[in-house]
Amino acid sequence: MRTAARFSLSLGIVKLGAVTRFLLRVLGQTLPSLRDPRLTVEQIYNAGARSLVIIMLCGLFVGMVLGLQAYDLLARFGSESALGVAAALGLLRELGPVLTALLFAGRAGTALASEIGLMGATDQLTAMEMMAVDPVRYVVAPRFIGGFIAMPLLTAIFDCVGIYGTQLIGVAMMRIPAGTFWSQTVNAVALRDINEGFIKSIVFGVACSLVAVYEGYNSEPTAEGVGLATTRTVVTSAVLILFLDYILTAMFL
């Protein structure tokens, strides 16, 4: 039992070392890859713009559910007017970055991992190497940068749509005066709350993008290998997001 645990621990350390080395290699190729900004812009579009529908749809429903649950809770204390504050703080500081990151891992992360994995399986990455083009510069770095630029933008959109969803429930359904709803929200939300969500979204963006490109780049060049890499991307990203969220929340409080 103890041997197995020690073996798992050493495997974990080896993997952490490999990911760190990979991250350093990607960071080293970040500036060279930005010399052709078209590559990065394309990836911001792929990871960001193409995730907009799912992010906005989920943001709306999360905001509406939050509105219903928070209204029910606040009504017990006669504080329904604080619905906007509760929803805005919950979304900006916690739900927005975490749920956006989880959705990002499921949509853009899997797409990144499978795309890079398939490029490896069909010799496209090797072909680049043979043409003296570093695939880390041409393929990996733009996707990594695109991912972590897209994440805060998507989080901001998720937050806005989420607050709008809560407003639909609070103001349109539960008849809370719109003036009360918005004035309380604006007064209660501080720049610190927005910063907390912003920093979280950047950290999650780096983590999700790194996991996706690492798993894709290092996947076995087979159909099964690419499938496994895609699965590992979602699982690792989800666990990492929640773990990092705990650490960051503890730091901010």
């Binding site: 490029m119 496209q124 072909a127 680049m128 043979m130 043409m131 003296a132 083009v133 570093d134």
Partner: protein, 298 residues
């Protein structure tokens, strides 16, 4: 009459220093022995895990010739190309290309060397997100700053050479196997390499496509004086174009010489390979326990 070796044409946009552009070898790495081959594989040993791929492999590729490397499937022919390109390193022995030890090169030097060597992949390995035109233009865009009009002409010329100028706007998914291979060939020659490595160029092609590829390899070698290394197990095709042939088996070279010399070789391995006999020194069956004993086992 071809170009004299010292003024052999190199792309004008080559980033190598001037003194490096005037010969087959960079001046800094010009072999001391003028007879030294362009590619020299010396006593190479290579294993993947416990499986020995090469044990004491020796191959010499002379400049300007078509050298064929033949052998049964699984003898490591593709691995040899990966070793020559520095994608993997041998556990022992030495591989030199243009007189430079591949294992001693840092990544930038290795990339500089790879710009002088083209590799045609067995699968073509075209970049699926780009059109045929963009695939062929890709190495030039990455390594040279050419005006778009010049680049366009250059790419169209290379596509014309492989007969696919009309397919410039197609995507790789719209191409047949033979067309993919020809586009990959156009991409491999777009930087005017000094050496072209072909990995199983005839596999899975119909007779017409085979003939086209065969003719292209020959004409590239004769008109552009490109040194060619062909990895294949297609005996008739190799016999038609190769100047020198190596036959590999069991991790080493078992016979070498011109195709005619190999044909007249009486050794069992050579005759089995050339005649395509199912059994012989190269066993048809993978090592296994006795057939009947295994069937009767419960």
């Amino acid at each position: 009459m071809g170009w004299p070796a010292t003024v052999r044409s190199r792309p004008a946009w080559s980033s190598r220093p001037l003194d490096d552009r005037v010969g087959r070898y960079p001046l800094s790495a010009r072999p001391e022995d003028p007879g030294e081959p362009l590619i020299n594989v010396q006593d190479v040993q290579y294993a993947i895990g416990s499986h020995t791929v090469f044990s004491g492999l020796n191959v010499r590729v002379a400049a300007g010739r078509i050298t064929a490397i033949m052998g049964p499937s699984g003898t490591g022919k593709t691995t040899l190309l990966r070793l020559i390109m520095g994608q993997v390193l041998p556990q022992a022995g030495r591989i030199t290309v243009f007189g430079e030890d591949i294992a001693a090169l840092a990544r930038p030097e290795l990339y500089a060397l790879r710009q002088r060597v083209g590799l045609l992949f067995q699968t073509g390995a075209l970049l699926t997100g780009m059109s045929v035109f963009e695939n062929v233009a890709f190495p030039v865009r990455e390594h040279a700053k050419l005006p778009e009009s010049v680049l366009r002409d250059l790419v169209l010329m290379k596509l014309q050479a492989v007969g696919l100028r009309g397919a410039a706007d197609l995507m790789p998914a719209e191409l047949s196997g033979g067309m993919s291979r020809r586009v990959a060939l156009a991409r491999a020659i777009v930087m005017d390499p000094e050496v072209l490595l072909y990995d199983e160029p005839f596999v899975g092609l119909d007779p017409i496509s085979k003939g086209v590829i065969l003719r292209l390899i020959q004409s590239l070698n004769r008109t552009l004086h490109i040194t060619s290394v062909l990895v294949s197990h297609d005996v008739p095709e190799i016999s038609a174009i190769a100047d020198y042939t190596y036959l590999m088996s069991g991790g080493k070279v078992v016979a070498e010489g011109s195709p005619a010399q190999l044909k007249s070789d009486t050794s069992g391995v050579v005759q089995q390979f050339i005649s395509g006999a199912p059994d012989g020194p190269v066993a048809f069956h993978y090592p296994a326990p006795d057939y009947f004993t295994q069937l009767l086992e419960r």
